[in-house]
Symmetry: C2
DNA sequence: ACCCTAATCGAACTACAAGTACGATATATA
DNA sequence: TATATATCGTACTTGTAGTTCGATTAGGGT
């Protein structure tokens, strides 16, 4: 078989497997989906699955990677679209909230915090706990936009400020998601209103860095 | 055996087991510590372990609970000690940072985000993803202190603001911990300096809520 | 039509750790 | 000494990731 065809086949099979895994991960949860489940759903034998992916974790990471691409695409638009820093900032927050709502199973993966339960293989050192570089670049771009229009001071280095922004926003979203029930019952606001307030407050910290 | 003695014995055994587990969890990590390891370390048979704890997770949660008590003690001091809101706020941040540094294996548990890998039992619904109520009360107390001295506006409800504060601080600490290497190499500051800056910025968002 | 190679299958197998079962034994109390 | 109960030890069950390997299928080249 020609090298061309071989690669096309590999891609085709990987895609099928990922599609199947996505469905199962989202409906039953990552932990309750077994490799046999994935094989059955994708209509492959388990051994074939292991030809294309060396572990369950690699499947999960591939999906996260796909979603990461989608997300960075959306963020790029949110950031480069016309409007002030403040408007871009809100669009970015919205993007992340919507991502968390649509793909809760992968939000942890996006932050590099996913851990496979019951995995026999050591976790990939490479992918551990890093912000994806493209993501970081985008956030820096956003910060620079703010600096250019003098909304942000230039005292703090952009990448450091971007990192601060990311940690704050992701912390806010994570906890809001975890405690959404209490937010509604105890604080008497919807989750969206709470988040909107929180992002507004957090914005203050950025423009006074 | 009298009820008194029985309870003392139960406590004694639980303490021994927890002490053994703590050592192993901290030296080898929670995931790489097996129930057999714990039994060996504590000098009990595995079956006895299961008399006193119904699962590995319960052992872990007990430890978290202990540390939570310690931490709330320290926070209570940090908050009620003399000084302004701003000073208390810094002390609270310091407390949390030091906790994360001393007990990284339990920081996730503290936030209610720990997940046992390979556990056969369903996770306790009760303990899922909540801030411990005592912790929440303390944070509210801190916020109220700020309101009383007019450093904080009273527009936002105290418990909501406390929650926001908690999510921000814990997000900042978590990511700083995860990326400490990059902080030093890329941002050219020590982790402590970075955190100090971050907490200062975040402070701005609180006083302008 | 035939062969060869690579892809796929299937089913049994290993490894491992959590949690269980249960009879044997030690220890204290009455 | 008799009884109750705490502890032990060992073997077992269960669930799942990942492996092995011989059998089978499919397509392309001759």
């Amino acid at each position: 078989m020609g090298e061309r065809k071989k690669q096309a086949l590999e891609r085709f099979n990987r895609d099928n497997i990922i599609t199947a895994a996505k469905e199962l991960f989202e409906t039953h949860g990552v932990d309750h989906t077994t490799m046999d489940d994935i094989a059955r759903q994708a209509d492959y034998s388990k051994s074939t699955i292991y030809v294309y992916f060396k572990s369950k974790e690699e499947i999960y990471n591939s999906i996260v990677h796909d979603y990461m691409d989608m997300l960075t695409g959306e963020l790029a638009i949110a950031i480069t679209q016309e409007g002030s820093f403040s408007e871009s900032y809100r669009r970015v927050c919205d993007c992340l909230v919507r991502f968390d709502e649509r793909h809760p199973a992968y939000y942890a993966g996006l932050l590099g915090e996913a851990q496979m339960t019951g995995s026999r293989k050591k976790q990939d050192e490479a992918a551990r706990g890093t912000i994806a570089p493209e993501l970081e670049q985008l956030l820096v771009k956003l910060i620079d936009k703010g600096k250019k229009e003098k909304t942000l001071s230039t005292k703090v280095k952009s990448n450091q400020l971007a990192f601060y922004m990311w940690s704050g926003i992701s912390g806010i979203i994570r906890l809001a998601d975890r405690k959404k029930a209490e937010i509604v019952t105890q604080y008497q606001v919807t989750k969206d209103v709470y988040l909107s307030n929180a992002f507004s407050m957090f914005y203050e910290s950025l423009i006074r860095g």
